[in-house]
Amino acid sequence: MLRSFPIRTHEVLARKRSSDASDVALVERVAVGDVRAFEALYRSYYLRLMRFLGLMTSRRTIVEEALNDAMLVVWKRSHTYNRQSKVSTWIFAIAYRTALKALRAQDEPVDPPADEPSSEDAGPEQQLSASQTRSELLRGLDGLSPEQRCALVFAYFHDLPYGEIADIMNCPVDTVKTRVFHGRRRLRALLGDGAREAER
């Protein structure tokens, strides 16, 4: 069973280092107003930010607005990037703060996306489709605190080390571990039996 969890390869790490170096070069060009470098940075981070923000809030319009708000901050504050952290950590920290603001401004309860059937529509004997499973996941995540939700999303769906999550969320490493531990217990309780079946 344990062999089903592969060990990270040196090739993956080398690729990440290369990506970090090119990101730094892009941010330095953005800092002097290079729009083409900014577009390259935007395209490079778009899917990762969409994934993060899409799991932090399930409203598509808020996700798109928050993404561009976050990247606008990247544009304006690029001269403050000091290489003390990875570019990805710096950008995700900006996106995290933007997401928190968007969530605070989001007063009404979150509805499931219109094109994704709710769990009541599917009988227990039916196998959950991918979109239904995603919908269930979003419903469960909605029941967590923003901090638990963020830590859990970074650990499970962005494969970030706990140290990097702590840097992004500007909190101690032990706080990250505690948030993920309690967040996943609560998520399991919120997902209910149907979603647990989907997990198995």
Binding site: M1, L2, S4, F5, P6, I7, R8, A31, V32, G33, V35, E39, Y42, R43, Y46, L47, M50, R51, G54, L55, E64, L67, N68, M71, L72, W75, K76, R77, H79, T80, A130, S131, T133, R134, L137, L152, A155, Y156, F157, D159, L160, P161, Y162, K177, V180, F181, R184, L187, R188, R196, A198, E199, R200
Partner: protein, 210 residues
């Protein structure tokens, strides 16, 4: 052989805490070995790891790539709007304002010159009087600055006042300005660099660059 360990054991608690990072393969070698050894013998943690692995496998991207060009175009439009506003604010400044600034500058220079004359007269042995056109070393440019393209004139003034700097030359062909920073210490330069309106600021007297 697998066995159920006490759920209160420190080893079990630690493995539970680290499971998400064991699964995303970001633990260091010692931590990963500790969790792996515990998993070998803990049925509860094995089941938990399998459930978490299934959760991680849920497809969470929802056709986002299709919106990339649209969303970039929206952000690009916001950037262009900001630049246009900055350009307009510079272009629509009242015609008398630059002249007024020049007049105030000349007036200040005359007052300063009179002050220098008076001090020179009253302090025997002090530096001789120097005419306005003379190259006073204290007024030399000591910093090169580039403002951000979308910085407003107000932002620029705020940045200069905050750092105790004044423009002594420019703009150059690359839109840089020459400044005299009254406080030449690195902290003053760092404060100038930290201002959102400033894209780049370099000391012309050597020392660490940005």
């Amino acid at each position: 052989m697998a066995r159920v360990l006490s759920l209160d054991s420190e080893e079990h608690r630690r493995a539970q805490e680290l499971l998400p990072w064991f699964l995303n393969e970001t633990l260091d070698a010692d931590e990963a070995a500790g969790v792996a050894a515990h998993l070998e013998q803990c049925l509860r943690c094995q089941a938990d790891a399998a459930a978490q692995a299934a959760l991680r496998a849920i497809p969470v991207d929802d056709g986002h790539a299709a919106s990339l060009d649209h969303d970039w175009a929206a952000l690009r439009a916001r950037l262009d709007t900001q630049r246009e506003q900055t350009r307009r604010s510079l272009a629509t400044r009242p015609w008398w304002r630059p002249g007024l600034q020049l007049a105030v500058g000349i007036q200040a220079a005359v007052i300063l010159a009179l002050a220098v004359v008076l001090v020179g007269v009253s302090l025997p042995g002090s530096d001789p009087y120097r005419a306005l056109g003379a190259n006073a070393s204290g007024a030399d440019a000591n910093v090169l600055i580039v403002f951000r393209a979308d910085a407003s004139e107000k932002d620029m003034r705020e940045a200069l006042r905050g750092a105790g700097a004044r423009v002594v030359g420019g703009p150059t062909a690359s839109d840089a300005y020459l400044l005299h920073l009254s406080d030449p210490r690195p902290q003053a330069l760092a404060s100038l660099r930290a201002h959102p309106a400033v894209a780049r600021a370099e000391s012309l007297q050597g020392g660490p660059s940005r």
